[in-house]
Subunit: 198 residues, 2 copies
């Protein structure tokens, strides 16, 4: 299923096609595709080139690891993410290596890396769904995440599936129209709430 | 000047070409290009589709506004960002609209929107440089940013310039090779620090 963005200005096709489905067809992802996805994340920008991102990963063929990582999502996400081909939990490092000071962009930069990964996946015809709904304490304990590092999100990557495979409530969300706020609500000049005229 | 990523696996060309120069040629950016950049940001993913991003923007033709926004960067960034065509300060909303609860991804999702903007800009042959170095208190005061919202980053967008236009220390950074950590340092399976084999 495709759900292209109703873009009002011409943006790149991969941004039009990227969306966050819940219906995945449970098939493996070739290793070379996984390498390319990780490479896309790797070349994201980051504050002082810290690259604060760390990924915990599991492919569906590796059943035990996959089940362990799936179990780190909130139950509502496990329902559909179990059909993904690749699960990723993102973890950020709170401080800079070069001076041990707090990195104010450590969570922001996870977003930069994740965005590159999901756009690259879209370009390759894959489906992705990023999740805030994770179990940080379980992740910390199970994977031994050290002090100074924080789990941030999970990302499901896989093959687009049939919306009819979803439970009713999720199928409804799957078919909902996509919407975004107009620029006047969030692009300001001069002062807060003053639209910049775009 | 181009500084392509030394990617070891085939990633999209716009990700290869994206980097963060400091040398900008001070020329205006057409309005339709600005609309496309904002549209790219607009269609980013976000937790519960909150779209927590708010942008304060100024173009270089609008001299007074541009000077005011430039002045919200740390001095080291003002040196070179003054030649950008468009300056953006990103601001996030800490809570969700639908339940007033904290949005754990509010800063992360600024990264998603910013990434789409800078990749779209790269595709259009523009140069971008994201900055953590901003003056949050000055931004709050000058633009009346309300309680519950936080300035996160700034983004300079413009036309690539000549590295020789930069002061010596910045020119040196401009010409440095780009580098990224190997997967073994940050892609783990099973437990923290155990490379996943990519």
């Amino acid at each position: 299923m495709e759900k292209p963005a109703a873009a009002e200005h011409p943006i790149h096709d991969m941004m039009v096609r990227r969306w966050s489905p819940r219906a995945f067809a449970p098939r493996p992802l070739p290793r070379d595709q996984i390498l390319t996805l990780l490479e896309a994340a790797r070349w994201a920008a980051s504050s002082f080139n810290q690259q604060p991102w760390h990924f915990l990963v599991a492919t569906r063929e590796d059943e035990e690891r996959f089940a362990a990582l799936l179990d780190c999502l909130v139950p509502g996400n496990q329902v559909w993410a179990r059909n993904a081909s690749l699960l990723i939990v993102t973890v950020t490092k709170r401080t800079f290596d070069h001076n041990d000071k707090p990195n104010s962009c450590c969570v922001h930069d996870i977003g930069l890396a994740a965005c590159q990964l999901v756009l690259q996946a879209t370009e390759m015809g894959l489906a992705t769904h990023q999740m805030a709904g994770i179990e940080p304490d379980r992740i910390r304990e199970r994977y031994g995440v050290p002090e100074g590092y924080d789990p941030v999100t999970a990302i499901a990557v896989g093959h687009a599936g049939d919306p009819d495979s979803l439970p009713d409530d999720l199928r409804e969300m799957e078919l909902e129209a996509r919407a975004r706020r107009p620029f006047a609500d969030w692009v300001f000049a001069d002062g807060w709430g003053n639209p910049a005229g775009y």
